[in-house]
Symmetry: C2
Subunit: 260 residues, 2 copies
């Protein structure tokens, strides 16, 4: 296999991809993002087919990458220097393959039975973990406030491990309006709410989770039908926001399964 | 207040603190680490008293930092340039205060009722989140394999939000031996185990959690009394390791509370 080999950082395609890697506005404007690594690309292709472009690093490729390149021989492929490639990758040890894809928009159900609303989550790893938990727990739709970090950044995609391709995500959502329109209970997670375990979660349920440091805004607490807390037995009184999200979502899963 | 003001990166104290910030071996050798920010320092002081040294950045200090400096007027305090301070801090937006402390060793109960064993966790943020969940769920002891990232690194401390000061942590532990000696059930989390929800978790219980990518080693799976999985309703089949840990630990909490 031979590929177009680009070694100059002045190359216009490199500059464009670097903007996509670094800049949420650029990703939104073009409706494109970069997927890093074989696993994410395969998860994407299972749902949406071929990527628009593949990028590899010069030097050695793993057999996994070589196999994928053979399988995707019809997709335009370019090669960057190792250093240029590393500038596009969100991880310290780059995986050796990046793919340019359109950001997919999965259809959002009109009446979600199980929703997750996230207010102003700052850390892309946390957001990725929350989306991954949502996808695993069977959430129907995730709504992100204007102030949330971008769900399609390379770091959030890495944290999501493919969750972004299976769970519908609505960005820049008006969470108060969505909370009030939700046809079911909306549960705002706070430090002084009702016990999560005392609520019947088998009915249509939306969890509303706040910023890592500040928690939920008063407006969203007020818009919710209940405030809920995870009872804590230990000496530390709060959880990482992504850990708390997982506990809430899977408590609903558990209750639904217990009902049969 | 006036402080010793250090502006040279050649300063021996700066060089020593930089080693502590960057290097697990150095932290272990000296049994010292750096705490970043008012919150962590306060959590430390609640348990262990004063730090050995305070470090602040030149320029403006927040009122929170100024208040703490007044309260801790007897603790030696030095001031570094903003850039030097930033080199010691694990966060992009430094908090403006660092504290040098001895790494505490909390007594480990001889017979833990609720334990967590972590094998080769790589990401310090994940490890911090797991320790925070353990502290919140009332875990008695956390055992870390030789291959785990350092629990006392600035990033792991930041993720733990004070958990390291309340839950006993045993590093470089032989998890297979501890698992076999544990006086209760040891539950290895895998993708094909029994349902977490079908087990009686009210008895003495240890959860064994594996590396983020590779999962648990066969040796630890074999050493456990059960393999357990979190049933997943969605299209994604695994959780972030820290999210899975939270779900497991809080399912035990829930069962214990349900028993009264």
């Amino acid at each position: 296999m031979t590929f177009k080999h680009i070694t100059s950082r002045d190359n216009s395609l490199f500059k464009q991809l670097k903007k996509l890697a670094d800049n949420a506005r650029e990703r939104r404007k073009n409706n494109e993002t970069l997927l890093d690594g074989v696993h994410l690309l395969q998860a994407y292709m299972e749902q949406f087919g071929l990527p628009k472009l593949l990028v590899i690093a010069e030097g050695e490729s793993t057999n996994e990458v070589v196999g994928l390149l053979q399988e995707l021989a019809d997709v335009p492929t370019i090669m960057f220097t190792t250093l240029m490639f590393a500038e596009l990758s969100p991880v310290a040890t780059p995986t050796g393959i990046l793919a340019l894809v359109d950001i997919p928009q999965l259809p959002v159900p009109e009446q979600a039975d199980f929703a997750l609303m996230l207010e102003d989550i700052q850390d892309p790893g946390n957001l990725g973990s929350m989306l991954r938990s949502a996808a695993a727990a069977g959430v129907d739709a995730v709504y992100l406030s204007q102030g949330c970090t971008d769900a399609w950044s390379p770091k959030a995609l890495r944290g999501g491990q493919g969750a972004q391709f299976v769970v519908p995500i609505v960005e820049r959502a008006d969470l108060a309006a969505i909370s009030q329109a939700f046809a079911g209970q909306t549960l705002a997670t706070t430090l002084d709410g009702e016990s999560l375990y005392g609520l019947d979660l088998s009915q249509p349920t939306a969890f509303v989770i706040g910023n890592e440091g500040a928690g939920l805004s008063p407006a969203l607490v007020a818009a919710a039908s209940h405030n809920v807390s995870i009872p804590m037995a230990g000496q530390v009184e709060s959880l990482n926001a992504a850990a708390a999200t997982a506990v809430c979502l899977f408590e609903r899963s558990r209750q639904k399964m217990a009902q049969g």
